[in-house]
């Protein structure tokens, strides 16, 4: 097997290193900035490594009483998990029908799902806000997730994954007397588990990172702040120091950072077997 020569190797490392320095500086600033006294951070250049570490900013960010992060954390978790579960159920069923169940409506329904992907919720946020408000559940966490329980994108992703499943094998299973639901649950889902993990992670992140819907619709109830709206509230905190802000942001990023660092294998496998291939 040809191993790359020394020059390309050096160039490879050089390019990757330069890119890493540029792309990772914001990450470094986020994580380290929170541990620095405000003054060190405002210094030019920020004294990122001068050894004056402090946990004060984290304490301040976590304890500040006005935008409490703990309930926001719970809300974000609720949003992420419930959207994830709902997407899994609705998308699995729909994708299965679109791939394996012949029906004259299959094509139009697929296009309908696809079309909904192209509808940014900003374009329908007004009617949705009016509608959800008319349900009188302003104070309920449910109002944070209600419009997002089904996903055209989830259907699209799983359809791509299910299409990889050899048709002959499915036909064989059906002929063996395997019902649709049983085939779906016992054969197809286990076989496409990486894709399912992929969409689960994607759905969770979609809910977790959602920003404007929580801000707009739940502005009638402060207890419905999510971590993302909390970040924004922290930013406009009068006299709020960048260091406290960065500490707060690091707290909100913790779950996703951990996911990227330690759960990357799942992410990769999910995308590999999912929509991508």
């Amino acid at each position: 097997m040809n191993r790359p020569g020394p020059l390309p190797t050096v160039l490879t490392y050089l390019w990757l290193a330069v890119a890493a320095v540029v792309l990772l500086f914001p990450v470094l600033l986020t994580v380290l900035g929170g541990f620095l006294p405000s003054n060190a951070l405002l210094h030019q250049p920020p004294q990122l490594l001068d050894g004056h570490w402090t946990l004060e900013n984290y304490r301040a960010a976590w304890r500040q009483p006005v935008v409490p992060l703990a309930p926001a954390f719970v809300n974000s978790l609720f949003v992420g998990v419930s959207i994830m579960l709902a997407h899994l159920v609705t998308s699995c069923l729909a994708a299965y029908a679109l791939v394996f169940l012949r029906s004259p409506l299959r094509r139009p329904i697929f296009w309908l799902f696809l079309a909904t992907i192209m509808v940014p919720y900003e374009s329908i946020v007004v009617p949705n806000a009016l509608f959800v408000r008319s349900l009188g559940i302003n104070d309920n966490r449910l109002s944070l997730v209600l419009p997002f329980l089904a996903s055209g994108f989830g259907v699209f992703m799983l359809r791509q994954a299910f299409r990889q499943f050899p048709r002959e094998l499915r036909e064989a299973a059906v002929i063996d007397g395997c019902g649709h639901l049983r085939f779906l649950l016992t054969i197809l889902l286990p076989a496409t588990r990486p894709a399912l993990i992929g969409i689960a992670v994607w759905s969770f992140l979609q809910g977790w990172n959602m920003y404007f819907w929580p801000l707009i619709i739940s502005s009638s109830n402060n207890s419905l702040n999510t971590l993302q709206t909390a970040v924004f509230a922290l930013k406009d905190n009068e006299g709020g120091s960048p260091a406290v802000l960065l500490a707060g942001i690091t707290i909100t990023l913790l779950p996703t950072l951990l996911l990227v660092v330690f759960g990357q294998r799942w992410l990769v496998r999910g995308f590999t077997a999912g929509a991508v291939k």
């Binding site: 609705t90 029908a97 940014p120 007004v126 419009p147 990889q164 993302q228």
Partner: protein, 320 residues
């Protein structure tokens, strides 16, 4: 790479043979049952999307023809006035800037991670660390990324400006110079999407045969060309996926604009979605009619892009 092991089904070859005689007689009712079941399975998804995506579109059409009281409730009909308001150079600028933003995000947003993922296919030590590192921006939400970058570029304290100063370069007015403001918002978005796209493309490349990759980079002269002609088609599903999702991200981008420039300076980073937000919810506005009309424009733009991407681009994608 095919889907993981399918031995579980253990289907003997004989079973794939043509169905026996009797099957043909039951074909018609079976078809109907299958169609019905198909509908049933799609129902939960359709219901959710119907109530919260499709139906609101009809409402948006209705709202777009209405004036409103000071609380934002629809009142008298104003006909097509809100659509007339869209036939202005100002709104043309908004559309143009939306297009510019989208293109400027999608192209580097896919190419940059590709240029990182491609060399990482070599079996060299440390590549996994690099991959993890490059994926980190993926962990950032829009609000987190925007706020962090604002601190990065804050004229008073910017470490970026400091580095530029060391290199003897003048620091641009990142968010206050018309051209630069757009570039900044674009840059932050590219940074954000690069993490996700890197994972997608790296995964795609991981599925390509090692020997093909080796062949593609045997020497510097033919390497890049072979990469384009041999490897790219092999990872076309990943590329397509990255392009589609990045386009959506760019088209729907709001947080970066709202938090970083608030559409400024003087409207130079105003995009369609920002405009909708601005008319409906910003500055005590509740011009829901105009916002709904713009929402419909956005829908049209979105569907056009979907048709192009899935009707034209997807044909060139080689699924295996």
């Amino acid at each position: 790479m095919t889907a993981p092991t399918l031995t579980a089904t253990g289907a003997p070859a004989g079973h794939v043979d043509r169905p026996p005689e009797g099957a043909r007689r039951t074909a018609r009712p079976a078809r109907a049952r299958e169609a019905l079941l198909g509908l049933l399975f799609t129902l939960p998804g359709l219901a959710g999307l119907g109530v919260f995506v499709v139906f609101p579109l009809f409402q948006a059409v209705y709202l777009s023809t209405r004036g409103n009281d000071i609380l934002g409730n629809p009142t008298r009909s104003v006909g097509l006035r809100h659509f007339h308001e869209l036939l202005t150079p100002a709104f043309g600028t908004v559309l143009w800037q939306t297009l510019v933003f989208t293109v400027l995000v999608v192209v580097p947003g896919v190419l940059l991670p590709l240029s990182l993922a491609a060399p990482m296919t070599q079996r060299l030590p440390g590549m996994r660390i690099f991959r993890t590192a490059f994926a980190l921006p993926f962990a950032y939400s829009v609000s987190a990324a925007s706020v962090v970058w604002l601190i990065m570029l804050n004229p008073g304290v910017s470490p970026v400006n400091w580095v530029l100063g060391l290199l003897g370069l003048p620091a641009p007015n990142w968010t206050t110079e018309p051209g630069w403001a757009m570039a900044t918002v674009v840059g932050v978005t590219v940074w954000m999407v690069s993490g996700f796209n890197l994972l997608v493309l790296a995964a795609g490349l991981a599925g390509v045969d090692e020997e093909v990759l080796e062949a593609a980079r045997i020497d510097g002269a033919t390497g890049p060309r072979q990469f384009v002609s041999i490897v790219l088609p092999l990872i076309s599903p990943s590329l397509f996926f990255a392009v589609v999702t990045t386009t959506l991200t760019a088209l729907q981008a709001l947080g970066q604009v709202q938090i970083m420039t608030d559409g400024g300076p003087n409207g130079h980073t105003r995009t369609l979605v920002y405009s909708i937000f601005d008319n409906a919810f910003h500055n005590n506005n509740s011009n829901f009619g105009l916002a709904s009309a713009q929402g419909l424009v956005l829908l049209v733009v979105g569907v056009l892009i979907a048709v192009v991407q899935f009707g034209v681009l997807e044909r060139r994608v080689h699924y295996r």
